[in-house]
Each structure stands twice: as structure tokens, then as C-alpha cells.
Amino acid sequence: MDDTSRPRPGDRADRAASDEWLADFEAAARRPLETRMRYAFIHTYKPGLDDAAYRSFDTTADYRAWCEAHLPDWLGYGRV
């Protein structure tokens, strides 16, 4: 696990981010699941990905490679 990506205690900006996240988590915990889902699931057209009604891949690696070859970078499906 990449623990360097966690907000570090003592850093003011990171602590503020962490406090904001905590407030988000607590607010979400007070909402019913149905409401949380209404806020969470969105739909926008994803070029390439949404252009076929069905796709299947023999291996997960094949799927990852397909995404990298066929989807625009800005969708974020490329591996780091």
C-alpha cells in the first residue's frame, strides 16, 4: 500500500483535506442508502467505452490493454 499518498498529520493543508473528508464521510453516513446512491451514480457519455452494447475479454489484462489502446487518456483508464 502506498502510505505516502495519505494526508500526513502535522501538515496544515493535508490536515484540512483530511478534516474535509471526515466531514464528508460523516454527512454521507447520515443519509439513507437510496439518497447516497442518487448522489453517487452519474452518467456521461464515455467515448470508446460506450460505443458497443457488449464487450468481453478472456483476461483482465486483455481488458486493461484494450482500454489503453482505445480510450482517450483523459478518461483515466491508462495505467500509471
Binding site: M1, F25, A29, T60, G78
Partner: protein, 155 residues
């Protein structure tokens, strides 16, 4: 295609239960079911790869309204690693071999039930996203890990 809704998650839960499908919500959809406040476009389910479960899955998907050809049904029943469905009432990704998780049985033992929805444990969701190592996963992991700590503290 409209966004995935609670009612559709219920359709999955109820149809899969009627047909005895063994599956777990995974990915950000799974995290959202656990309480993670974020947005996503996809519903992902991790499905146990056995012949009986594959047949049950095909029957459940057809009952929900996915228009599967015989070839597609055979691929799903066989358990190809990754199947993307956009030929039904909502979009659904079927994942038989997620990155970062050893076996369905391991994930099943660690599962969490939320209103009858079987969900991967937050540690498995994080492990899967970390192993996948896509740009979009790397961006969401710090907040997801902070949520894990919060979620475990809440008990």
C-alpha cells in the same frame, strides 16, 4: 442510458438471489454501498466462476432485461474474465477475475452485507484498485484509504 439507481441495485439483488447467483459488489460502486461519498458511472460485480453460477447469472440477467445472444450467454456462463454489458436496462460490468484479489472465496468470507447487498470488504476494494493502478484509481485511493480508516473506526 440513465444513471444507475438504487432501484436497479435492488433488481440485481433480488434477481440474483432468486437464481442463487454468488456475487459481490466491487469497485467504487461497492465503496459507495459501504458509505463512501463519491461519484461513479459504473456498477461492477465480482462473480464467482463456476459452471452453475454462470448459468444462474445468465438466467438472472435475462430476467432483468439484458438482451443476451446465445454466444454472449455462453461467454458469460463460461466466466470470461471481464464482460461489459450495455445491452440492458442499465450498464453493468461483470468481473470474474479482479486484479488484487486472490479468490472469490476469500472475498466472500470477508464480505459485508448492506441492506441485503453483498459487498466486498473495503480492504478488497482498495487492494483491487491499487493493483489495477490506473490513473483514475490512483487519484481516488488516498480518499478511499481515509474512508477505510473512518469506516473501521465506526465499526
Amino acid at each position: 442510458m440513465a444513471a444507475f439507481e438504487y432501484r436497479q441495485a435492488q433488481e440485481i439483488r433480488n434477481a440474483f438471489a432468486r437464481h442463487g447467483v454468488r456475487y459481490l459488489f466491487i469497485g467504487k460502486a461497492g465503496a459507495i454501498l459501504l458509505g463512501f461519498p463519491d461519484t461513479t458511472q459504473d456498477a461492477d460485480v465480482f462473480v464467482e466462476r463456476t459452471a452453475a453460477n454462470g448459468q444462474a447469472l445468465v438466467s438472472a440477467l435475462r430476467e432483468i432485461g439484458f438482451g443476451l445472444t446465445d454466444v454472449q450467454a455462453a461467454e458469460i456462463a463460461r466466466g470470461k474474465d471481464f464482460v461489459q454489458l450495455k445491452n440492458g436496462p442499465f450498464d453493468l460490468d461483470l468481473i470474474f477475475a479482479p486484479d488484487g484479489i486472490e479468490s472469490f472465496e476469500d472475498a466472500w468470507r470477508r464480505r459485508v452485507e448492506v441492506e441485503g447487498f453483498p459487498v466486498c470488504h473495503i480492504d478488497d476494494i482498495i487492494a483491487s484498485k491499487a493493483a489495477t493502478n490506473r490513473v483514475k484509481d490512483r487519484e481516488s485511493l488516498p480518499r478511499l484509504r481515509a474512508f477505510r480508516d473512518y469506516w473501521l473506526r465506526r465499526g
